[in-house]
Amino acid sequence: MKAAPFDYIRPSSLEAAVAALAEDGLTTAAIAGGQSLLPLLALRVAMVDLVVDISRLDELKEVTVTPEALRVGALTTHAAFEDGQVPDVSNGLMRRVASGISYRAIRHYGTIGGSVALADPAADWPGCLIALGARVRISNRSGERSEPMTDFIKGQYSTSLAVGDIVLGVEVPRMPTPRWGFAKAARKSGAFADSIAVAVARDQRVAVVLAAATTRPCLMAEVSARVMAGTEHALRDAIAADLAAQAPDADAYQKRLHTATLLRAVRELRGQ
């Protein structure tokens, strides 16, 4: 299908882009890689009056490492992570996650900022970034703010972004050699996942996150508490308890699938 007509501008500064996105009476959308927005427009799932091209804004291209965190601009592509062009503060987790997103032709243009702004429940980045304790940096007319990723993602395709907000990038805290595990189940490689499990251990804090199970990635509290010690039996009990609390609508097949990805992620973490 073809997208319904819309207007298009390519502002030359962040201020102009923010102003265009907040224009009164118009439904607007920011486009960077367009790898999710363009299919949504083509299928007419999304309809907009104005597309604002932010793909060349230098303000969204920053990639720096401070003593505290990796700051990565919203326009950084999945392929850039996959190819090791982004400094690694995650002991390889982000590279591994990026290389499994969709297909290479999509990863060449799809961006991390677009992924978090869309908040598809089955996307790879939101769950990974929540497990890493990352923050999102957002800009609008009144200035800049930063939010923990876990507060930023509200639900299915729903974030704290308001009209006129632009995702500047994400901030991943540095930690002494984090250990991690990652497992994903999809019917076909490159397709949206049916289950994603990410486990990250830094110092004594462990975060196990399950994505693609419900409307947003959720923290598996019982599993997180037992990652370092519990027996496999205890781990399975913890998974059952977390699933009952977080994904009560999962059917028998989905419960087995989530159990499998969570166990794989935890085993990988323990093996590191």
């Binding site: 299908m1 073809k2 997208a3 319904a4 007509p5 819309f6 207007d7 298009y8 390519r10 486009i31 367009g34 790898q35 363009l38 299919p39 427009l41 083509a42 299928l43 597309v51 091209d53 793909s55 392929a79 969709s102 297909y103 290479r104 032709a105 999509i106 060449h108 243009y109 076909k188 490689s189 490159g190």
Partner: protein, 169 residues
């Protein structure tokens, strides 16, 4: 209508397009470059894969107007490209096409694979090719052709440069 200028298959091309027009539609409808095939028009089938600034991408997932200042290469523009030439020969020898609808996207994706991975084995090719759909289901021979082309490059037929194209040795 919006205007943009891009380098298309080596020629500077000025375009006047509707903002909603995809690069694929621009190439086929306005430039007559029908070697780029459109299957699904939402990024799932891979038939319309082309190169923008040297990077393989779905032309149905690029707005033509966003390609202002970019370099676009379609299958027609790869006529004299040594690596594509070599792939064509192996596709021919291995009988790697049937109806031919997916072939231009397959060739460009195969080219991208060989630019990134040295001597890929069948498993690597299958993984990298998972975004390209062949409705004739002729994958076995497509994989064979790409593996064989990778082997020949490994023996020094052409030199590879990631994203930067390929030069004969």
């Amino acid at each position: 209508m919006k205007t943009a200028t891009l380098e298309l298959n080596g020629t500077s091309t000025k375009l006047a397009v509707e903002p909603r027009e995809t690069l694929a539609d621009f190439l086929r409808e306005r430039c007559g470059l029908t070697g780029t095939h459109l299957g699904c028009e939402h990024g799932a089938c891979g038939a319309c894969t082309i190169l923008v600034d040297g990077r393989a991408t779905r032309s149905c997932l690029q707005l033509a107007v966003m390609c202002d200042g970019r370099t676009v290469l379609t299958i027609e523009g790869l006529r004299n490209d040594p690596l594509t030439d070599l792939l064509r020969r192996h596709f021919h020898t291995c009988h790697a096409l049937q109806c031919g609808f997916c072939t231009s996207g397959m060739l460009i994706t195969a080219r991208d694979i060989l630019c990134r991975i040295k001597r890929p084995d069948a498993q690597a090719v299958r993984r990298e090719l998972s975004g390209q759909i062949c409705r004739c289901t002729g994958y076995a021979n497509i994989v064979k052709a790409i593996v064989a082309a990778g082997e020949e490059i490994g023996q020094g037929a052409v030199a590879q440069h990631m994203h930067g194209g390929v030069v004969p040795t």
